[in-house]
């Protein structure tokens, strides 16, 4: 990445990192601002910012969800985010990415992930945003435990394999659909 990438996470710091994982509530303004001040986007050449927030839903597979608990292997999750940023840079070189994931207990309606993409034209910012969330679900070592009326269950999705080119191609196909 050409951007100044700070790996430290958390909002207690003066400079918001482009990529982060931690327990603090997510703020879109913070990650949009992080992109804005990350150097290469200071030229005025960008015409689009796309933001995405993933929220805790009150229902899943017919269950009434009370809250979620997110857990992560944090150092590897940050490396997965770096990998996703590098893939986006390779596929859409004019896009900048900021991506923050929250962990710990999240109540219904709270944001678990915030993504901001920025580019000269909207098409690439939209595509890269979708690609980022699809890849997080494929390769980031993060798990959610769902607490619903009557019990709790670990949600298990994809087997994480960053070298699985079919998964990557599928994320790209979805992003460009």
């Amino acid at each position: 990445m050409a951007t100044a990438l700070s790996i430290t996470s958390g909002y207690t710091e003066d400079v918001t990192s482009l990529l982060a994982i931690g327990p603090e509530p997510l703020e879109l303004e913070r990650i949009v601002a992080a992109l804005d001040t990350s150097g290469r986007f200071h030229t005025g050449a960008d015409g689009a910012v796309v933001t995405f927030l993933g929220l805790v839903r009150n229902h899943n597979l017919g269950r009434r969800v009370r809250y979620l608990e997110y857990e992560a292997y944090e150092p590897l999750a940050l490396k997965a985010f770096e990998r996703i940023a590098a893939e986006i840079h390779e596929r859409w070189p004019d896009v900048g990415l900021a991506l923050h994931h929250r962990i710990g207990r999240l109540d219904v309606g709270e944001a678990s992930i915030a993504i901001a993409t920025r580019s000269p034209h909207r098409a690439n910012a939209y595509a890269a945003s979708r690609y980022a969330i699809e890849r997080v679900k494929q390769i980031a070592p993060i798990w959610k435990r769902e607490f619903f009326d009557g019990g709790d269950v670990w949600i298990e999705g994809a087997t994480a394999d960053p070298d699985d080119e079919r998964a990557r191609a599928e994320a790209e196909r979805i992003a460009c659909a």
Partner: protein, 81 residues
């Protein structure tokens, strides 16, 4: 040699531990550790084909040869986002 094993999400619940220490013979791989754990905690066996593994916070394959002091992690299918 000795390695640290980290377990996440449901794997941790099954084993009842976040972190385990294991003494291994030279040449042991991630797969060696996994088979040992699956023998100890039969509930883990169902994850044989769906887990991912990592060494020192980098994804690594089951045939990866371990060194003294490594941190091995076993990761059930992920569900972030």
């Amino acid at each position: 040699m000795r390695v640290t094993v980290r377990l996440f999400a449901r794997l941790r619940d099954i084993a009842g531990a976040t972190e385990l220490a294991r003494d291994l013979a030279p040449g042991a791989t991630i797969g060696t550790v996994w088979r040992e754990l699956a023998g100890e905690y039969p509930g883990l066996a169902q994850y044989e084909r769906s887990i991912s593994s990592a060494v020192n916070a980098d994804y690594a394959r089951m045939d990866h040869v371990l060194r003294d002091g490594d941190e091995v992690a076993f990761l059930p299918p992920v569900s972030g986002g």
